[in-house]
């Protein structure tokens, strides 16, 4: 395996990862719409933990280190029950939006 072939394959997988991020954002947005102002609980909490763990480990590999860092921080706080799920979901949606719809450079 050459480095150029590795780079090519990384590009393909990165595209698939970005598509997955769109789905993650839609899922989180739907979750918040369903729960209204109440904090998501139960299965939603488990799903958020799994999602933040996955993003923390993977986003940086695809070139999104800030998303990895944010997801890792949210995951740690969720794990220690130090953050409510609604706040966690909003933080994650913001981080995903910065990757998917980056603000124009000044």
């Amino acid at each position: 395996m050459s480095r150029s072939l590795l780079a090519d394959r990384l590009t393909v997988l990165r595209t698939a990862f970005l598509k997955e991020l769109c789905e993650n954002r839609a899922e989180l947005t739907n979750l918040l719409l369903q729960t209204g102002q109440a904090a998501p609980t139960g299965d939603a909490g488990k799903r958020l933990l799994a999602l933040t763990h996955s993003l923390a480990g993977r986003a940086g590999i695809f070139g999104f280190p800030n998303l990895s860092d944010t997801a890792a921080g949210v995951h740690d706080l969720l794990e220690t029950n130090g953050r409510d799920l609604r706040d966690a979901a909003l933080t994650l949606i913001s981080a995903l939006t910065l990757v998917l719809d980056p603000p124009p450079r000044a």
Partner: protein
């Protein structure tokens, strides 16, 4: 050149693929991947790897539990094991070394330098 057999275990399919490709940038590495700790315990005694890389957090058997069971498995009880983990707080790293880890690969890793990082965990 010596060919080192390496097992990489991770429950995320895309990361397994990237890791295998990244490791095989080194022509001295032959890599097989596993999606779970159970799969590692099944493959390792047959394939006799020189190094096993374990994702710390996996459904079912996690990385540390997989290491404990490897240590009780004839033929691979002394095979070096390194963890791939996003948990890099110092006390957690210390726990992994106390379990017998040969090294830690921080996650996310850099695919372009992963092979060089892993080389240092191999027996000379």
């Amino acid at each position: 050149m010596s060919l080192y057999r390496i097992i990489y275990a991770d429950d995320e399919a895309d990361i397994r693929e990237i890791a295998a490709l990244a490791l095989e940038v080194d022509p001295g590495f032959d890599v097989m991947t596993c999606a779970s700790g159970d799969a590692v315990l099944e493959l390792a005694p047959r394939w006799q790897p020189h190094l096993i890389l374990l994702d710390c957090v996996m459904p079912g058997l996690d990385g540390p539990e997989t290491l404990k069971r490897l240590r009780q498995t004839p033929g691979v009880a002394e095979t070096p094991v390194a963890f791939v983990t996003a948990r890099i707080q110092s006390h957690e790293v210390a726990q992994l070394f106390m379990l017998g880890a040969s090294g830690i690969v921080p996650k996310p890793f850099d695919a372009m330098t992963l092979a060089a990082t892993v080389r240092q965990f191999l027996p000379s």
